[in-house]
């Protein structure tokens, strides 16, 4: 049970950490100042959530690792994030579509985790849910604006959707970790999660005049630590200071 809980906390924490890091790459590069600030605000929320989840993961593991140890001192195969969140930022449309597919999962997920039998997870979920509502509203409205916008914006965000679609299926990846936690009541009512995600995604895509890709080929592996080449580059940047100057603080 502790082992499954630790694994699951890494999945939650690493999704937040890696996507938060990706969004931070936009700092100073946003298409307009307001979006530069918005994307880094989302990043800050996600890094904060990662801190909470990884802090708790370290306590559950019981080996004295802090949230910083877990964030900065693991190797790539020990990260459990979705492949979706490590995808490169691409243009603004790619970043927004990646965010939208993720937010549409996170909101219903946190709505469930609020009822977790694990009090710490329930508390982090309640906190994060309030923030995630803002994130989903932001990304949904941009998907609609870009999709139902100009020919150029429509084409670009449709392309982003076509490319990211194969990574979206991993959101619903489940294994013995989930089974153990469901039995313990840590993960309540997960059966309808996919239906909730689909409802959000299909209604927004329709409004955005975008077509759902008919390609059902899926690419997964992140939940088991098998990542794309992109994670290595992220970690090189993320971990550089701690690797070069162990235990540095400021």
């Amino acid at each position: 049970m502790e082992k499954a809980l630790f694994e699951y906390l890494l999945r939650l924490g690493d999704d937040s950490l890696i996507l938060g890091h990706r969004l931070s790459e936009w700092c100073g590069h946003g298409p307009i100042l307001e979006e530069d600030i918005a994307l880094t605000n989302l990043s800050l929320d996600l890094i904060g959530q990662a801190t909470s989840f990884l802090d708790y993961a370290g306590k559950v593991e019981g080996k004295g690792r802090s949230e910083d140890d877990l964030a900065f001192l693991r190797f790539d195969k020990d990260y459990r994030n979705l492949l979706l969140v490590e995808r490169p930022n691409g243009d603004f449309g790619v970043t927004i579509m990646r965010q939208f597919l993720f937010d549409a999962y996170r909101k219903p997920l946190f709505e469930r985790l609020v009822h977790s039998s694990d009090e710490t997870i329930a508390a982090i979920a309640a906190k994060s849910l309030k923030e995630t509502k803002y994130h989903l509203k932001h990304s949904s409205e941009w998907v609609i604006r870009l999709g139902d916008g100009t020919e150029e914006s429509h084409e670009r965000i449709q392309e982003a959707l076509n490319d990211l679609w194969k990574y979206a299926a991993e959101i619903f990846y489940e294994d013995e970790v989930d089974a153990t936690l469901k039995e313990a009541g840590v993960l309540p009512n997960m059966e309808t999660l996919r239906a909730d995600w689909e409802e959000i995604v299909y209604s927004v895509l329709k409004e955005a005049t975008l077509e759902t890709p008919d390609n059902n080929w899926k690419q997964e592996g992140g939940r088991k630590g098998l990542h794309t080449e992109h994670l290595g580059y992220i970690l090189a940047e993320l971990q550089y200071m701690q690797r070069a100057y162990p235990n540095m603080e400021w």
């Binding site: 918005a38 605000n41 929320d45 009090e119 710490t120 329930a122 309640a126 906190k127 409004e207």
Partner: protein, 162 residues
């Protein structure tokens, strides 16, 4: 030295939010509890947003302030539940925000409504209701960015979090 929890709450009224220095940590609603056990004082606080970078600073400032008041044995505990909401912002706090030039939170519709009718956020400078949202995300996690169409003042809005 004998102090009461009331006195400690009073001392905490002298600790200001580092990002919005017009508000005390009590106005902001982040101080959830004060406990005394002999000469040991425990202050429980909760973050506004998960990634709020001010929390560590607030923690240090509380310890420093109470030490200054002669209370040596101070611990600050951070709790996540129940999650902070702008409903905990005191009336006094809302008034001070407006005077400082930040519009206090309004009653907002649920975030799940896409392209919802914009809420009316009166300009903190000229009180005009003719204002517009520039960005849902502002200079800190807790604020959105607005502009007044009447006096053209750009201003921060302390957004509603529930």
């Amino acid at each position: 030295m004998v102090v009461t929890t009331e006195e400690i709450w009073g001392y905490l009224e002298e600790v200001f939010d580092p990002e919005v220095p017009v508000l005390t940590v009590v106005d902001l609603g982040v101080v959830r509890d004060v406990e005394l056990n002999g000469d040991a004082c425990k202050v429980t606080i909760t973050p506004t947003y998960s990634g709020c970078p001010a929390m560590k600073r607030i923690e240090d400032d509380i310890v420093e302030k109470l030490n200054e008041k002669g209370i040596e044995n101070v611990t600050v505990e951070l709790v996540l539940a129940p999650a902070w909401t702008t409903d905990w912002l005191s009336e006094n706090g809302k008034r001070k925000l407006k005077e400082y030039g930040i519009a206090p939170p309004e009653n907002e519709p649920d975030k799940s409504v896409l392209f919802a009718d914009p809420i009316v956020v009166p300009c903190p400078k000229c009180n005009s209701k003719d204002t517009r949202l520039v960005s849902q995300f502002g200079s800190t996690a807790c604020k959105a960015h607005y502009q007044c169409n009447e006096c053209l003042e750009p201003f921060d809005y302390f957004k509603c979090l529930r």
